[in-house]
């Protein structure tokens, strides 16, 4: 039961999850993270509620996988800084290269990455993945009002940052 459903969901949503994780964690082996998402889905299949959407459930897992990966990288960077780590960031698979971003997109991508976590989450889900408010609310385990307000504030912060960069350039 679990195997067949997860197998079906893999072919339905793996691209979306790859896309989300690429924007969420940036560089690195996103394939491994996609695999990790579905492994966690198998482990937690008993907690999945039949009436809920598999897409939001998988995105919720993907977000946690992304958070864990960012923390792991942060720990590795600290270890590297004090000389006990062996982490080497892979510069050959940065989102800029994978996504072949032009200058305008590269700047926008970097500004999104510089936002605080809540803002980044809601921008990626609402604007990039084009999820509805209710889907975003389920994925982030927030209420819909919080999604609306945070999205509005995130856009405001993003615009401010972007305008700031434009002003500096001029």
């Amino acid at each position: 039961m679990a195997i067949s459903k997860i197998s079906e969901w893999f072919y339905l949503y793996s691209k979306d999850i790859y896309h989300f994780l690429l924007y969420y964690v940036g560089s690195g082996d996103i394939e491994d993270l996609v695999q990790e998402v579905f492994i966690r889905a198998i482990k937690g299949f008993d907690t999945y509620q039949e009436n809920s959407s598999p897409k939001t459930w998988l995105f919720s897992i993907a977000r946690h996988v992304g958070i864990d990966e960012l923390r792991r990288r942060k720990r590795s960077r600290i270890k590297n800084a004090i000389g006990i780590g062996d982490y080497e960031p892979t510069e050959d698979r940065t989102p800029e290269k994978v996504l072949q971003l032009n200058e305008n997109h590269k700047e926008l991508y970097q500004v999104i990455q510089s936002l605080k976590a809540n803002y980044r989450d809601v921008i990626i889900l609402r604007a990039i993945k084009e999820m509805s408010v209710s889907e975003t609310a389920v994925t982030l385990n927030w209420n819909e009002n919080k999604v609306r307000i945070t999205y509005h504030r995130a856009l405001k912060a993003l615009k401010k940052e972007r305008d700031g960069i434009s002003d500096e350039r001029e």
Partner: protein, 227 residues
């Protein structure tokens, strides 16, 4: 929704820019081959995980069974220990009687449940005490018979005694008849009751199969005569 649209209308250009960010080139970066490989890994993991869970569930059941069996054994052990303790330590008088049983040669006999001859043993001990005390004056005999009478309050025998069980008691009684006979002449006050008792014992002596109740009645009769 309309409010949301209006609220974010000022960011329309920005939203459009964000939505124009390109999607990955799946054919190069996340092609079918890569997806099939990941899918295979997931399926393998899923089967391993299912087997591991199944083994875990069986292990838990076995562990629960073993734990239950140990708990049952412990409970049985504790219950039996408490029960045994109650049987052996509640009544010191009963303990005394059981010890006395050795004196009358009843050790080794097997009784069915509910037929344990507590009263019988006690009364037999009264007889035994009588024949072993070798009374040498009238006062001692009087107190002895009183004691025997008190001791023999309960005559509710569980069963009749067999000749084997009585054999040792009878031998003891026979060996004391001479002493009792000599007391008749020495203590004239007690001639009559002692004579009656000796007569009773002599009658009993010839019986192979003697009812204990008869012996007890004789003792009771004698003690009344003495009073």
């Amino acid at each position: 929704m309309g409010y949301q649209m209006n609220e974010n209308e000022q960011f329309r250009e920005l939203i459009d820019d964000i939505q124009s960010l390109p999607e990955p080139d799946y054919e190069n970066e996340f092609d079918m081959k890569t997806r099939d490989r990941i899918h295979e890994n997931i399926i393998n993991f899923s089967m391993d995980y299912r087997n591991k869970r199944r083994r875990g569930i069986i292990g838990k059941r076995v562990l629960a069974g073993i734990t239950s069996a140990i708990a049952l054994l412990l409970f049985t052990f504790v219950f039996l220990t408490i029960n045994d303790g109650e049987k052996t330590a509640t009544d010191p008088n009963e303990q005394h009687n059981l010890d006395e049983e050795h004196l009358v040669g009843l050790q080794g006999n097997e009784y069915e449940e509910g037929q344990y001859p507590i009263h019988m043993t006690y009364d037999l001990n009264a007889v035994k005490r009588y024949v072993n005390n070798q009374p040498d004056n009238g006062e001692e005999i009087r107190s002895l018979f009183k004691q025997m009478s008190n001791d023999s309050v309960k005559f509710d025998l569980q069963r009749e005694l067999t000749s084997e069980e009585w054999e040792k008691v009878k031998q003891d009684l026979n060996s004391k008849l001479d002493i009792l006979n000599s007391l008749i002449s020495d203590n004239s006050d007690f001639n009559q009751p002692i004579h009656l008792f000796i007569k009773f014992l002599e009658e009993a002596k010839g019986e192979d199969y003697l009812r204990y109740e008869d012996v007890v009645n004789g003792i009771e009769f004698l003690s009344k005569e003495l009073n």
